[in-house]
Symmetry: C2
Subunit: 545 residues, 2 copies
């Protein structure tokens, strides 16, 4: 028996587009001699459909797509993820299902039992968990069909669920496991997936075909990396990361396989590729081509520009240099050098005139008050407004250039440098911004050396340095990582050896700036805990603040 | 037996403050002769604690608060909501629990079984559902103790859960039901709660004491309105809305009660009071006193100002009038009149100079391009920046004045009139903005008559009217209500008699503007479906767009 994995990039709510893509893949799988082709979780409607699932019309469109796809299931069987209705009145109205299509019809439906409801996942918001489990008979083989999280309750020390779907299915003696997933990227997710697939294969002693989605949906990047594993735990194949791919495997050969074919997993390379796909799909799926961003001469905007050029092409990225009286000479030079290295268009717009116009109006009202963060914010906001005007006039999208460290501690101006339609590096700590910039320069200078080596500064007052108001990024980022990604509290951080006063100060900065993050652009997620939909914090809380 | 209901306003993460408030209430309940005093759901840590629950330190603080409160349970028993740990490895690590404290100790703990995970609720994100149910023996009576959603699976035609905790508890023959809740306001929630309490009382034929939280947590307003219902379904008492209150009831008298004591429920009065509490608590819980807002002479900013003055006092609200060349004469006069009626400070800052400064820089780059939404946005953004500068310099919070209709269709400028720390009327449709304004004026003119009667306009180009680009608000709001609150799709809307082209256009406007709403301030929720945490939509979707 030959099984095809169709690792594709779906678009939420684009039923016609998703169907066309699947019909094309069915054709290709047939050409590859496949008896069965499998698509990823909720492939008909795209993942995550979020509250669109609450619309009957959206479910009807999903059902129609399954029916149309079923007609193509001739000479080949198809497995496709799609929402389905729960006929029982009690419980949620929907299931997260995988349809088995054969001979032009729906032959069988499997429902998801383990519904991830943590971090970026909200599945129990929509779906009823399955309580019945049946293998699928196909051409003399029995298939244990599960959906994503269904296989994730083993292989970890603190299982989230009391049931384990494969424990039920294995009683019916399946020949292999087929798991349809939509598993989003973070820089350790590919390794985690292999670990979980291996834990399942070891426990149930049959091969697994694991199909993932590939492509970005706003903040979530689905990295592909679909897995075929033999029953002896060898990695027969790991499909490309971040790319669409259709590959067919002979079940007998998978069973006999003795080789490991794992892809390399370099953290910076993965983050780089994830962000590039994140930017490319954000623009592509919204129907935009061109981006704009401010270039300060600093490393954050330089890195963002380099990533955007990689994603959209140099012709589609425009940089705006907006020096003020506080900008150093090298800032403009560094920004100009970057734009030239990248081959992208740039304009220079000095902002002092705008600042003066604001101050003309505000001066009488500010009488007796000292220069403070207000005037710093005004500069940042003047720049934000110019960028938005260019974005509006030329119909492009403004990219936000804030990094995770500054977003965490609120070191950024709301409606100023926090403007933008998409936060490109908002899930990358400053220490990793440096590493990623060096990765960009791995084959020669793209980001100017001076941009990488000079001390970070917002240049909003004379001779300002980040280190005037923040601890060294090495220390700051480690505290932030422990607090944000690892959920460690003050007691645990102090036990790790961090200074108590510093810990209290940093955690307070993170917590009192929740209101800013509430209003910022969606952040491309590359870590296990990004700001945005996966981190839900109260604003009026009074905790560690 | 005498039972005290303590309907209090807790603060998320403010363990010391919440404990002090409860200790004071225990004292008052004792003075009222109570044998038992009950607090609301998750009272120790405040509701909703959201992802703070993922921090071990936060759970330890909750546990400490319960222990300290237990020491006060002498001569009186206490029921208090608090998170507790699940000792079993499988499943989520926490329960949403209610502790029964007696004789200085924890006597018994009940866990929540039905975990709301829809709209603004995320409880399955954190909690394991209860599977065991036991009544509590206290002074010869048996108490069926449940938590909020536990009683909501009956009284509706499409129950969300397969189990019903009271169906289990009733087998142990309890004498009365005690339900500790944190049930957020929308303008029909008080009626819905009475309906559900009555459905329970009718089914189980014993009285119910229902304790709600009172006060605001950012977007969620908890409206109190705690309920005491006799076993014959009579409303013995409904506690005040939006206010703290401690009242004690004699169980024997509750059982015998024959009167209905329901509060009046006027939609505009409820919305008014909810928003006032929402503004007051947002400021109070963040430690701010003063607000600022732009006054355009239009009805949205006038209504927002009136509500803010009611919440914070006239001395704490400052209005900024920012006329441009497109502002009509009456705009400034109407805004000035409003400020005078309200007795609040106002300043006038003409914005044309700023607009000109931007255009000086942008003109060469805009060469050959026509005046369009870019220039309109620049005006709105110049105003936003001035307001933010005043907010920063004087340490007050900018109030956002956008209404729900314009937020829905994207009729507003990101970083312009969409600026602000809190959206005051962002869940009020324009047609209700008029009604609420008339309600404000019920005892005499506060909002100038001309502001209410003139045709709505953004005044961003000569003689602009909202009706140039939008259908009449009567029609628009009804389509929006059906789509947003009622989840009706295009097919259903057309069946209702709305023009197909108009329906498609409006739904498209709603969907393509998701990116704007993603970046706006938290919205005080007054309807069953507000923008924000309760409505989670994809940005890159291609559905009805």
């Amino acid at each position: 028996m030959k099984i095809a994995i169709a690792q594709l990039n779906f678009h939420i709510g684009n039923f016609a587009g998703n169907l066309a893509k699947m019909l094309d893949a069915v054709k290709k799988a047939k050409e590859q001699g496949a008896d069965l082709v499998a698509f990823s979780e909720l492939a008909t409607c795209g993942y995550p459909p979020r509250d669109f699932l609450e619309f009957d019309d959206f479910i009807r469109e999903s059902e129609r797509t399954v029916k149309k796809l079923a007609k193509a299931a001739k000479g080949i069987a198809i497995v496709v993820g799609s929402p389905s209705r729960n006929p029982v009145i009690e419980g949620k109205d929907l299931y997260n299902s995988a349809f088995f299509l054969e001979n032009g019809k729906i032959k069988q439906v499997a429902h998801k039992a383990l519904l991830p409801t943590y971090d970026v996942f909200d599945e129990y918001r929509y779906f009823e968990p399955a309580t019945e489990f049946n293998v699928i008979d196909f051409k003399g083989k029995k298939i244990a069909l599960t959906i994503c999280e269904d296989i994730w309750n083993i292989g970890n020390e603190n299982p989230l669920y009391k049931v384990c779907p494969m424990d039920e299915l294995i009683k019916q003696q399946p020949d292999f496991m087929l798991n349809v997933s939509a598993s989003p990227f973070h820089y350790e997710s590919a390794a985690a997936r292999i670990h979980v697939v291996k834990a399942n294969v070891k426990r149930y002693k049959i091969p697994m075909f694991y199909i993932n989605h590939a492509g970005a949906q706003t903040e979530l990047i689905f990295d592909g990396g679909s897995i075929v594993m033999s029953s002896n735990g060898k990695l027969v194949d790991e499909l490309p990361y971040f790319k669409e791919c259709i590959r067919t495997y002979d079940l007998d050969e998978v069973v006999k396989n003795k080789k490991n074919n794992e892809q390399p997993k370099d953290k910076m390379a993965l983050i780089h590729d994830a962000i590039v796909v994140g930017v490319r799909d954000y623009f592509g799926k919204l129907g935009f081509k061109k981006a704009i961003l401010g270039l300060s001469g600093g490393i954050d905007s330089a890195l963002t520009a380099a990533l955007a050029v990689k994603a959209l092409g140099a012709n589609n990225v425009r940089g705006i240099l907006m020096p003020s009286q506080f900008s150093s000479d090298h800032s403009v030079n560094d920004a100009r050098q970057l734009a030239e290295n990248l081959g992208m268009q740039y304009d220079i717009m000095p902002v002092s005139g705008i600042y003066d116009a604001y101050m003309d109006i505000l001066k009488p009202h500010f009488w007796g008050k000292e220069f403070n963060v207000t005037e710093e914010n005004l500069q940042a906001r003047s720049r934000g407004m110019l960028l938005m005007a260019m974005s509006n006039k030329f119909g492009n999208i403004l990219l936000n250039t804030s990094n995770k460290s500054e977003m965490a501690v609120g070191y950024g101006t709301l409606y100023g440098d926090l403007c933008g339609g998409l936060s490109v590096i908002g899930d990358v700590y400053k220490t990793d911004v440096f590493k990623l910039s060096k990765y960009i320069n791995r084959n020669g200078e793209i980001i100017p050396e001076n941009t990488i080596t000079k001390p970070p500064s917002a240049e909003l007052r004379p001779n300002q340095k980040d280190s005037d108001s923040l601890p060294d990024y090495d220390v700051l980022d480690e505290i932030l990582f422990q607090y944000i990604e690892q959920q460690q509290g003050p007691k645990e951080l102090i036990k790790m050896g961090f200074d108590e006063k510093l810990v209290r100060r940093i955690l307070r900065m993170v917590n009192i700036n929740e209101f800013k993050r509430h209003q910022t652009a969606p952040v491309i997620r590359v870590s296990s805990k990004a700001f945005g939909m996966g981190r839900r914090m109260p604003i009026v809380g009074k905790y560690l603040s």
